[in-house]
């Protein structure tokens, strides 16, 4: 017998949990720019603040179910920062880090989870998709967007994110397959936070890595330390550049850990092993980058304090905007169904208005 194919999976990490650059690889240019790193640090903290505020809102009855991205901020901020305005984001339901990076407003995130369809009517990120609740469906949508870009010869790419659990879905494999054969400019980000609600990663697949699912589709892939924002951003920039220039798709598996419950309505203490959280907090992305910045004498307690104040104000502003948004009138249920509402349904619209007025 002869061997007709082999594969290997590379792992990329620049910065370890102590905030030290350990890699033999040359860090990308942005990693040597303190201002860029500070901005990334700030952006991750913004998401953390947003998530915590959202939880507080939910606990005080002002927000519906909300899925935080605690501990995974480096992934969304990292790959989101590699995107340009022209690129399109097709997020998954835990995607607020990348969404906010790419121009979705925080209040739009809050509005969505707060039960307002207005939350999907992005004012800035006009071509981005709203989150997909049916798992992995977004992967296929991303390939469609990329196909349009390809057909028009545009120098743009698509980023789409999925949890490691979502990669079990048929839609994910189908998306990889078509991206591979059609050479589509899609960057598939796998957020491997190790948990799919209560199902741990080891029960999800027999693959040693999630990245290698790309191999089955003939697609390039890489695994990165998802808590190392430098690695995430570096890999994303490379993949984005490739995708924009006709180089085809990439799968980037970012390994992290979900440091929060699946959503505000979940209780992870039921299934999470003891000690995992403690351990996880030591490796999380924000503290890691902070350690690095401090090691470069680029970050002080005052800086932290000031930043937290500013972020709180920003988040509060978004919260205020969200809380002040009026509920749609009942006719809104009808007015966006079709370009023109069928006659048969007009009577129902009137009825809804009449009932709503009572």
């Amino acid at each position: 017998m002869t061997t007709v194919a082999r594969f290997e999976i590379k792992y990329l990490q620049f910065m370890d949990e102590k905030g030290t650059f350990i890699s033999n690889d040359v860090p990308p240019a942005f990693a040597r720019d303190i201002d860029t790193l500070k901005q990334l640090y700030r952006d991750m903290n913004l998401i953390r603040t947003l998530d915590q505020k959202a939880y507080a809102l939910q606990r005080t009855g002002k927000m519906g179910t909300y899925p935080a991205a605690t501990g995974q901020e480096a992934i969304g901020v990292g790959f989101g920062s590699a995107m340009t305005e022209d690129d399109v984001l097709v997020p998954y339901y835990r995607g607020q880090a990348s969404m906010v990076q790419h121009g979705v407003k925080m209040e739009e995130v809050l509005l969505y989870w707060g039960g307002y369809e207005a939350g999907c009517d992005y004012q800035v990120a006009k071509q981005d998709f709203p989150i997909a609740v049916p798992i992995a469906t977004q992967s296929l949508h991303a390939t469609g967007v990329a196909k349009a870009m390809q057909m028009r010869g545009e120098k743009r790419c698509v980023f789409t994110e999925i949890g490691e659990g979502g990669t079990s879905q048929g839609d994910f494999y189908e998306a990889l397959n078509v991206a591979g054969i059609w050479n589509l400019g899609v960057v598939f980000i796998i957020n491997n936070n190790q948990w799919a609600i209560s199902v741990p990663s080891k029960l999800q697949t027999n693959c040693e890595t999630y990245a290698q699912k790309a191999i089955a589709a003939g697609v390039d892939c890489i695994q990165v330390d998802g808590n190392d924002i430098v690695a995430v951003k570096a890999a994303s920039e490379t993949a984005a550049d490739k995708a924009r220039n006709g180089g085809g798709p990439t799968v980037i598996e970012c390994i992290s850990l979900r440091l929060c419950d699946h959503t505000t309505a979940d209780d992870a203490t039921r299934y999470r092993p003891e000690g995992e959280l403690d351990d996880g907090w030591k490796k999380e992305p924000i503290i890691r980058l902070q350690k690095y910045l401090k090691s470069k004498k680029a970050w002080s307690a005052e800086d932290e304090n000031q930043m937290q104040k500013e972020l709180a104000a920003e988040v509060q502003q978004a919260v205020d905007n969200y809380l002040n948004t009026p509920i749609d009138p009942p006719e809104a249920m009808f007015d966006y169904l079709y370009e023109e509402l069928p006659e048969r349904t007009l009577a129902q619209r009137e009825l809804a208005i009449a009932r709503g007025a009572k």
């Binding site: 519906g64 979502g166 879905q169 609600i197 249920m333 048969r344």
Partner: protein, 326 residues
């Protein structure tokens, strides 16, 4: 005897049957160690082990497909789809295979399986978690679709579903999962599938409903009684195959009927019931057949959900309109 909620009744029925029949197996996402996101399978993995209560990877088509394979081998799988909104990847298997296997093999291969899913709105959930699309499966010959409205029925009908030799889609109205408790003895007694239950006898109008809307319907019946209107309340329970005779008998008695459903109006189960009544019992009708339903719109995000869901007052208004119809 324990006083338990609907979701606990589902749990009790599954546990009972797993205890007496080794072929019964439970699987789905988060059903094992977590006991299911609504706790439908709480405690089952502890009791019956990981081999019989299995946490699957995140893939609904796979869940349905595996159930088919196991059932064809004579096992009795109870597969959970976490929310009805996510049943659609599995719909191909359900419609193209579950519904047809007995027919196309002329009875050689049969599928004694249950696919259960929470369905319906009213819990302030994110989108895709509130759908009432039972009509899609009720339309498919070869499937049975069962919807319990209270804990006792959840227990009895679930046992019946597990014991049924054909595929049953068991849809649980999540809005009423915990709304009340019934005293239920874990005696393994199943309820008949394919039958309506007459929950309240009356003479002036028949109110037909299923699932969570039965609660609003019963409330409406109480209020109507206070105004001198005697309403008969029927719980359809088995949405397919439909026991239309019980409904027709009731219409013969009252002459008026109103169907109450959470689902959007067009092409729903209420449409089928109305057509059957018009076809078979038209000589008894003193008024048009009424329907109280959701609108023919996408069910809105939860801020507007209240506007979408039919209310007790709507049922009362429609009942009165029919009773006063000339």
């Amino acid at each position: 005897m324990a006083a338990i909620t609907l979701i606990e009744a589902v749990n009790m029925a599954i546990a009972h049957e797993m205890g007496v029949d080794k072929e019964v197996v439970v699987f789905g996402e988060d059903v094992g160690i977590n006991g299911g996101v609504f706790r439908a399978t709480d405690g089952l993995q502890e009791k019956f082990g990981e081999e019989r209560v299995i946490d699957t990877p995140l893939a609904e088509a796979m869940i349905a497909g595996i159930a088919i394979g196991m059932a064809a081998q004579g096992m009795k799988p109870i597969a959970e789809i976490q929310f009805m909104g996510f049943i659609f990847p599995a719909a191909d298997h359900i419609i193209s295979h579950c519904a047809r296997m007995r027919n196309r093999t002329r009875g050689r291969l049969t599928l004694p399986m249950v696919i259960r899913a929470p369905f319906g709105g009213g819990i302030h959930a994110p989108e895709n978690h509130s759908e009432s699309t039972e009509a899609i499966f009720a339309h498919i010959p070869g499937l049975k679709v069962v919807i319990p409205s209270n804990p006792s029925r959840a227990y009895g009908l679930m046992l019946a579903a597990i014991r049924d030799p054909d595929p049953v889609i068991f849809l649980e109205p999540k809005r009423v999962y915990r709304i009340e408790k019934h005293e239920i003895e874990d005696n393994g007694e199943d309820y008949p599938l394919g039958m309506c239950f007459v929950d309240r006898e009356g003479s002036d109008i028949t109110l037909v409903s299923w699932g969570a809307m039965l609660h609003e319907t019963k409330q409406a019946a109480e209020k109507l009684a206070a105004e001198g209107i005697s309403a008969e309340v029927i719980d359809v329970a088995t949405v397919s195959p439909l026991d239309i005779d019980t409904i027709l008998e009731s219409v013969a008695k009252t002459g008026r009927v109103c169907i109450v459903q959470e689902a959007p109006k067009a092409g729903a189960l209420g449409s089928e019931i109305a057509a059957e009544i018009a076809e078979k019992q038209i000589m008894s009708l003193l008024a048009p057949i009424g329907r109280v339903s959701g609108y023919d719109t996408v069910i809105p995000y939860y801020r507007l959900e209240k506007q979408f869901m039919p209310k007790v007052q709507h049922i009362i208004d429609e009942a009165k309109r029919l009773v006063e119809y000339r």
